[in-house]
Symmetry: C2
Subunit: 208 residues, 2 copies
């Protein structure tokens, strides 16, 4: 039924105005809309087309609180010892950590199956089977005018995060996405010019 | 200047019709178009907004051949010992391996900076800083009616791949994308129903 929710924003507009929106209203987001975003997330490629995805939609305050505690611990550490982002971004990070339980929906994107620490080809295939899907989710959220961010801080303690979500050991959370109606607004982001990151045929050959 | 290339396909259409297109014509693809796709790739989020990307656009046949040799070795192994994909997909994989040098453009997406094998939070942040960008590239390619696939087989020998591309040790290739005008056509893909992969609040609570 959620097939009916059309997200008609032109793709270049969605990409060009996608940004991390951390300040979110407590107002609820309809399940049908969240499911539509996940449905589009599932259209992304996955290694050997295995589609080993699991998405947990967290709305229960008690579960959100457990994730919030994990998240805040790393935010505090990052604030004390980390390389700080610029002040504006950091203030938004702090705001989100403080208001985590009031955010209407936390989506946790997980992968089923063994995760080996090496070789590189297997690790790249593993994460390459979940982050394209996460990016579809974030772009679709943008097109729906929802606010979202990709965070990884709660992943520092996999044991506690799995326990909070009732996940068995063979399912690994890979990305956490707080989702809600934005307090701030979308708009263009600043990025490196393309010629700073592109080489032709061999690294360093920046073209003319 | 490549800002002018508009990609106006509605986002849900691009996602719903994205698929791996492996059979590609040898006809050239304009640099301006490839650069536009990379420009949109750069709009994706990256961990701490570090934007540590490097993209290598390979058109030189000698360099393509080096990547092809790495790729074919794994294709052959997968054919002999691996879990085979369905016959149609496997035939397309074999076609691409055989014609790798004729594909007009191979884009290699890389990350700058240290890649540690653990803990999970750092590995997820690392790959979470390149695959959203790769997915933007693939979606933008779809919107431009180009054919593309995400492959990882050439990553099995990082030493050889870095040497082929002149990459220093602190730059790691994470995804290889053969790109060109499609011989086949786009169209809807089959995916698991969303309710098979979604839980509410705790894993296994599939809703009603």
């Amino acid at each position: 039924m959620q097939d009916n929710i059309e997200l008609n924003m032109p793709i270049s507009e969605a990409m060009e105005t996608q940004r991390a929106i951390r300040r979110l209203k407590p107002d609820p987001v309809e399940d049908a809309l969240v499911l539509r975003l996940i449905e589009l997330a599932l259209k992304a490629p996955s290694g050997s087309n295995a589609q080993n995805w699991e998405f947990i939609i967290v709305k229960d305050r008690a579960v959100k609180k457990k994730i919030a505690i994990l998240h805040r611990r790393v935010v505090r550490l990052a604030g004390r010892y980390g390389r700080r982002a610029d002040v504006k971004i950091w203030n938004a990070v702090l705001w989100q950590a403080d208001h985590f339980e009031e955010i209407p929906v936390i989506v946790v994107a997980c992968l089923k199956g063994m995760r080996l620490p090496f070789p590189h080809i297997l690790v790249a295939s593993y994460f390459g089977s979940i982050f394209p899907s996460v990016q579809n989710f974030l772009l679709a959220a943008r097109a729906a005018n929802l606010g979202a961010t990709l965070i990884t801080f709660p992943l520092w303690n996999l044991f506690a995060l799995r326990r909070a979500l009732g996940l068995p050991r063979n399912i690994t959370p890979c990305a956490v996405i707080p989702l809600g109606w934005p307090i701030g607004s979308y708009g263009p982001t600043t990025r490196k010019p393309v010629h700073d990151v592109v080489s032709f045929d061999r690294y360093g050959n920046r073209g003319d």
